[in-house]
Symmetry: C2
């Protein structure tokens, strides 16, 4: 399992496709959740050179620098994080590593037409229903979510994360989770202990 | 369902009981996850007056101030957040509001002897297995986790969040999630759509 945190192409608050800035706490939280659930690598996707350098600096501090001395467990999480200039480059890196391109699964709070349930993907990750013959790349968008062309090109669309509508006191759908929370929930749904 | 983010009493990195500082992103992420899954109120537990004022200022900015104008959805999440000086005060506030003290459920990455599964609590929240005659208060510790006396006094101990051990490529238990990620996963396990 691979994960990409996409800073481009994503939507801004006006629905325009653009590029978001890096958020330090995203790297830490997503690295820790990824280590917990066994994600092999986390790619931070940004075409901006300065943001790529920031990823190198943050990861370097926690894996080889002062952070690693004081907080060795954080190094075990952060060592799986690196940047890529584009989604194309992420797929190429995985193909290089594993000998074949990944299945791409997307998540979105605004997902209208999901075509694969978390339970189905979990079963296939566990070797059931024919299993999987290729690695899986999970995409998460920053800002106001992944650009439409990324959703359209994906192999699988996972449902939006929502509250069980059968519970009492439900005051309407509202699923503006942070990307950190969305990553944690998706990994737990796919790989968490039951 | 109520939630408390505990800054005292919690463990520090040396295993000593103390008080942690407020983290701004915790308030935002936990408010957003709580709104998504229908948690009625989020209490930030700290005995330190300056930190209590910080909660008031952050929440005020997003609910009544400049933040509310530019980002109205964040107000819908943040309006459920307030501070309390102690866990005793949280229980008293809930009893005041609902006419009875809550069942207290604790989570911990170091939980040794869980006595209630997520599935069992989910069923009771849904009205099965006799349902629940009192509200539920979920406690989450900051720093290195809730102090032992808090765990000992709780009605229910939920299991540590871990990866399903049956999946391939498991490189050992490691569950140092951020408290933001832990809250998201616990709420999804209890209240998320399936």
């Amino acid at each position: 399992m691979f994960l990409a945190l996409v800073h481009h192409p994503v939507l801004d608050r006006h629905g325009k496709v653009g590029t978001t800035a890096l958020t330090n706490v995203d790297l830490h939280d997503i690295a820790r959740s990824s280590r917990t659930f066994g994600v092999a690598r986390v790619f931070v996707v940004t075409p901006i050179r300065l943001q790529q350098r920031m990823v190198d600096e943050v990861v370097g501090h926690w894996v080889h620098g002062g952070g690693a001395l004081h907080h060795p467990r954080r190094a075990e999480a952060m060592e799986r994080v690196s940047w890529a200039p584009s989604l194309q480059a992420v797929k190429a890196a995985i193909a290089d590593d594993r000998g074949c391109a990944p299945h791409v699964a997307v998540t979105s709070a605004a997902m209208q037409h999901a075509d694969l349930s978390f339970e189905d993907l979990r079963r296939r990750l566990g070797g059931e229903d024919g299993g999987l013959d290729r690695p899986v790349l999970l995409l998460f968008g920053t800002g106001w979510g992944l650009a439409p062309e990324v959703l359209a090109e994906a192999d699988w669309k996972l449902p939006a994360i929502e509250r069980d509508p059968s519970f009492q006191g439900n005051d309407g759908a509202w699923n503006h989770l942070s990307v950190r929370a969305a990553v944690a929930i998706v990994l737990d749904r796919l790989l968490g202990e039951r």
